[in-house]
């Protein structure tokens, strides 16, 4: 039966890295805060229209907060409704926080003897690497094994921005900012760098969509590719919140995978000058 949970979990296990019809996002009410112990509210959903909760609430498994000092904690006041998940984060430290989730796993596709498509892990299940050799026939027709990683995040800063949370994990596709993500202004070009498994990679497809797509006819997406330094330079289309999506795949995978792919999404807020 098709439901939101199946959809989200299948998003996690998708082997193809083509643009997804649904976008998953975590959006803070504010990204720049002054004063002590601010509490920021967030909306999170999987939707068709950017930042409009028109489809399904984001499942919060794996959602957490990384504080400026590197400590990891849960979100507060979490509520998962039908179309939208909401939660709060108390900024008791000064500096930059990350809110998000990341996951990765093996997946395999092949054709059975009677021409039917088979895949592992089954829909809705997490891949257990120990099961791989048992569940995936080594001599299967058109066998394709890939290691896929997914990351979704956003950032808020209380007071002076800090860099502690940007230490790379070296796993999957991740964004290490050159321009701090909570210091973005409409008239100033920003530079973002992407790493795949810890290395700067060329050819990451980066798409940025400014909020308000409901109120215009075209998405007017900004499409970029990273250069050899793994960087893209963004010239903003004005102030507002942007949905950022990046994807990458190549054959530099660890056995038994022959391909690796990384997907990344983020929400960035650009202030007016």
């Amino acid at each position: 039966m098709f439901n939101a949970r199946t959809l989200f979990l299948s998003l996690l296990t998708l082997t193809a890295v083509e643009a997804q019809a649904h976008r998953a996002w975590i959006q803070p009410a504010l990204t720049v805060l002054s004063g002590e112990k601010a509490v920021v509210s967030f909306d999170a959903a999987v939707s068709n229209t950017i930042f409009i909760a028109d489809h399904a609430a984001l499942r919060s498994n794996g959602l957490n907060v990384t504080a400026p000092d590197g400590s990891v904690r849960d979100v507060e006041n979490l509520h998962t409704g039908k179309n939208r998940t909401v939660f709060d984060v108390t900024l008791d430290q000064q500096g930059t926080y990350r809110i998000g989730m990341a996951s990765s796993g093996l997946s395999a596709r092949w054709e059975t003897e009677d021409g039917k498509r088979a895949f592992w892990p089954p829909r809705g299940e997490k891949a257990d690497p120990a099961e791989f050799s048992k569940k995936v026939p080594a001599d299967a027709k058109n066998l394709s094994v890939s290691y896929n990683s997914r990351r979704m995040e956003t950032f808020v800063t209380a007071g002076v921005p800090t860099d502690g949370i940007f230490t790379p994990s070296n796993k999957g596709l991740e964004m290490i900012p050159v321009t701090h993500p909570n210091d973005l202004f409409a008239g100033e070009a920003a530079t973002l760098r992407f790493l795949m498994d810890g290395e700067a990679v060329e050819g990451v497809e980066v798409t940025l969509i400014r909020e308000g797509t409901r109120y215009r006819n075209s998405e007017d997406a900004i499409e970029l590719h990273t250069n050899k330094q793994g960087e893209v330079v963004i010239n903003w289309q004005g102030a507002g919140r942007y949905f950022v999506e990046a994807s990458y795949r190549d054959n530099k995978a660890q056995a038994p995978a022959t391909q690796r792919s990384g997907g990344y999404t983020a929400v960035l807020e650009v202030l007016p000058d």
């Binding site: 720049v32 002054s34 004063g35 202030l271 007016p272």
Partner: protein, 173 residues
């Protein structure tokens, strides 16, 4: 005896004459009367930047200093250019810099160019920046550029169109 007293007195008069012209920078800020149903005194900040967009000195910031538990600091970030140009690094309240919000009227602030943070400014282009943000209102940022050093009294005038009225910068070298 008499000659000594006269010489001493003359020396005092000469000394007084050379100290009469202290170099300073005066900023006149006008906050306009606004015909709005719900008026809140604006948060205002003024600071000095050099030709490389670097902050040279914080001049003044007006915010709700009296709120309990420093709750007035919550809206400082609405002065969004000031916030990233030193505002967020400033420990508030700051002696000689921060003060309470003001209502419509004219205010004059004077800063010494002989001593303190504005003393010995390197040669170059500068600008005093004034930013105002008002609760349930708007935000405005005005720049007052000047070149230093200058041998003559320099006046720079600007006018805001919404949250700030007339602004005047007077450099007295």
């Amino acid at each position: 005896m008499t000659i000594f007293r006269q010489t001493a007195l003359a020396a005092l008069v000469v000394a007084a004459a050379t100290q009469a012209q202290a170099a300073d920078l005066t900023l006149d800020i006008q906050l306009p009367e606004l015909a709005v149903a719900e008026y809140h005194k604006p948060y205002v900040a003024a600071w000095l930047e050099n030709g490389n967009n670097e902050v040279v000195a914080q001049l003044t910031v007006w915010y709700d200093v009296d709120k309990r538990n420093d709750a007035g600091k919550k809206w400082l970030k609405d002065m969004r250019q000031w916030w990233r140009r030193g505002g967020r690094s400033l420990e508030l309240p700051a002696d000689g810099i921060s003060g309470a919000t003001q209502g419509p009227g004219e205010y004059q602030l004077t800063y010494s160019l002989d001593k303190g943070p504005l003393a010995n400014l390197p040669e170059g282009d500068y600008r005093v920046r004034v930013e105002a943000a008002r609760e349930v209102g708007g935000r405005e940022l005005i720049n007052l550029p000047f070149h230093w050093p200058t041998s003559e009294k320099t006046i720079v005038s600007e006018a805001g169109s919404s949250e700030l009225g007339k602004l005047r910068l007077t450099i007295q070298p």
